[in-house]
């Protein structure tokens, strides 16, 4: 089990607070990034590419049946620090129901992590590109589960 799979978002926020300094937080993002579960190459298609990121980011979701269903996300970038940010996003969103996903205010979470102070607006666009895709997938899953 990787670092990001064993942790919830409150623990992560605590960890970031303990680290305090951006340099240490950035090192920690690298650690998270290195341990991120890998996407198989065949999943790195144009369809799964997330718009708005400077480096390539691919994101796929899996719906765990149930009522309500829960979504798991796996995403990868070629850049490690971006993978660290992806870990943050999956800690925040993976394993949740569509309803829960849509209720999260990601801006508030990133603010508590202190990330917006250290990410360029381009990077933040990338992050929100991922969030948008996740919310879109959650909407789809919600529609599918009520349609059934």
């Amino acid at each position: 089990m990787s670092l990001s799979e064993s942790m919830n978002i409150e623990q992560l926020i605590q960890e970031f607070e303990d680290l305090g300094d951006w340099d240490d937080q950035c090192d920690y993002l690298i650690d998270l990034g290195r341990e991120l579960p890998k996407l198989p190459d065949h999943a790195k298609t144009e369809e799964h590419r997330v718009r708005g990121c400077q480096s390539n980011v691919w994101l796929v979701s899996e719906v765990k049946a149930g009522s309500p269903p829960r979504l798991e996300f796996i995403a990868n970038s070629d850049a490690i620090i971006v993978n660290g940010l992806i870990a943050v996003v999956t800690i925040l969103y993976s394993g949740r129901t569509p309803q829960e996903i849509l209720e999260i205010d990601p801006r508030q979470v990133f603010a508590r992590l202190g990330l917006e102070r250290h990410l360029s607006s381009q990077r933040r666009n990338g992050l929100f590109g991922m969030v948008e895709r996740i919310r879109h997938l959650a909407n789809e899953a919600a529609a599918n589960s009520t349609a059934k």
């Binding site: 718009r51 400077q54 990410l119 360029s120 607006s121 381009q122 990077r123």
Partner: protein
């Protein structure tokens, strides 16, 4: 602008009510206003409609960018790069708020109003105008809002039509139906005439344009610095304005466009940042605003434009409008007393702070040059509105235009400079 108490035509500086605006405090913000001219004459700057002076906060801001965190925009992850991006987005948000746009990404940085209008005329026009389509303009428009349309109309087989003016220089909306046809695709109109001062009823024009299925472009170059603008409430589709007329730096302007229109249009300039992918075979475009921001932006200038907006909003349009209206009314009253002087354009209740005039038997160029000798800076010429001057029946006018820093005493200086010029030109007392 309406609901103003009627003014005493004989109001004098001493008894002048400056409204909520402390003009002396504002003047202290503008370093240039305190440089004496040769022979110790004070500067009376009455050419803000051509370009406004800059408060020190704006001047300092450009310097701060260069001295503290300058870097190219939207390109680096390093600290200065990120800071510049941040600051540019800060200006975008301020513009969004200033004009009441839905999102900051509808705000595009350009080099000025002229560039903004050319962008729309080309990137929207070439895409959507077909043979037989029409563009509705009018004779009071600045060349920047005429020539680009004439050119794209020529390229696309479309036609420009011109809504006539009333005798006093307002748009004659009673004749709208004669000029707006089912083929009218674009109505391009100024918020305020840069010569007559006429303020046009944009909300109503937008409603008429949309009722007929046309798109509305507002040339806000003159109106933006002097009165509130709200693109959403007024239903404006495109809005162009320049930083240098709203007390911001030269070299930067804005185009606002409704998101769906920006997405549907072609890009204008090709180059860096506006692309999604480039190959030797061809290219695809980025989303707005990047799609329209090819190449290095006017970085320091766009950032300092945000400071100019803060400055103007710190004073507030209520106070600004009130102050400039008082100056305008006082100027109208005083200038009307001058022999042979004719003010072109409507009465003050339909105008912003611009007074263009001619004096019988005096050439505007002579007047402007002689007034310069008294330290009174006014413009003369056709002010980039040749068709309007054709309509006025004069080849040139003298224009005095007011900004937030002008005072009633400067109106008096204007009057005495005119008297000085008249005397030098040996016009009858």
């Amino acid at each position: 602008m309406n609901g103003q108490p009627p003014m005493d035509q004989n109001i004098k500086p001493g008894t002048f009510d400056p409204g909520q605006l402390d003009v002396e405090r504002i003047r202290r913000e503008f370093p240039i206003l305190h440089r004496p001219l040769p022979k110790g004459l004070p500067l009376v700057f009455l050419d803000s409609a051509a370009s406004a002076q800059k408060p020190h906060s704006v001047i300092d801001r450009e310097r701060e960018v260069y001295e503290n965190f300058y870097a190219n925009a939207y390109r680096g992850v390093y600290q200065f790069g990120a800071r510049v991006d941040e600051e540019l987005e800060g200006t975008r948000a301020r513009v969004q708020q200033l004009i009441g746009a839905e999102e900051p990404d509808e705000v595009i940085f350009t080099s000025g109003t002229t560039m903004s209008i050319n962008l729309v005329a080309t990137a929207w026009g070439r895409r959507f105008l077909k043979t037989g389509d029409e563009i509705l303009l009018n004779p009071m428009e600045h060349h920047a809002n005429l020539v680009p349309w004439q050119r794209v109309a020529g390229d696309c087989g479309a036609a420009c039509r011109y809504l006539p003016l009333t005798a006093d220089g307002r748009l004659d909306l009673s004749r709208w139906d004669e000029y707006f046809s089912p083929r009218t695709r674009m109505v391009a109109v100024t918020g305020m005439s840069n010569v007559l001062g006429t303020i046009n009823p944009i909300r109503e024009i937008a409603q008429r344009a949309h009722a007929g299925g046309a798109v509305l472009l507002l040339d806000g170059a003159q109106s933006i610095p002097h009165s509130p603008t709200n693109v959403r409430e007024w239903n404006v589709d495109f809005l162009a304005f320049s930083g240098h007329k709203i007390y911001g730096p030269s070299g930067v302007g804005v185009l606002y466009g409704r998101r769906d229109l920006l997405e549907a249009m072609d890009p204008f300039l090709g180059g860096g940042h506006m692309i999604d992918r480039v190959t030797l075979e061809g290219s695809t475009w980025a989303q707005p605003p990047a799609k329209f921001e090819a190449g290095t932006l006017p970085i320091a200038q766009a950032i300092a434009l945000g400071t100019a907006i803060d400055f103007v909003q710190g004073i507030g349009f209520d106070a600004i409008e009130r102050h400039e209206q008082l100056l305008l009314r006082y100027a109208h009253a005083e200038l009307s007393k001058i022999r042979g002087l004719r003010i072109h354009g409507p009465s003050p209740e339909h105008k912003g702070g611009i007074v263009s005039f001619t004096i019988q038997d005096a050439h505007p160029e002579d007047l402007a040059q002689l007034m310069d000798r008294r330290g009174v800076f006014v413009r003369h010429g056709h002010h980039c509105t040749m068709p309007l001057h054709e309509w006025l029946g004069v080849s040139a006018t003298v224009r005095a235009s007011f900004g937030i820093y002008n005072t009633p005493a400067e109106v008096d200086s204007l009057v005495s400079a005119i008297q000085f010029a008249r005397q030098k030109l040996r016009l009858p007392e």
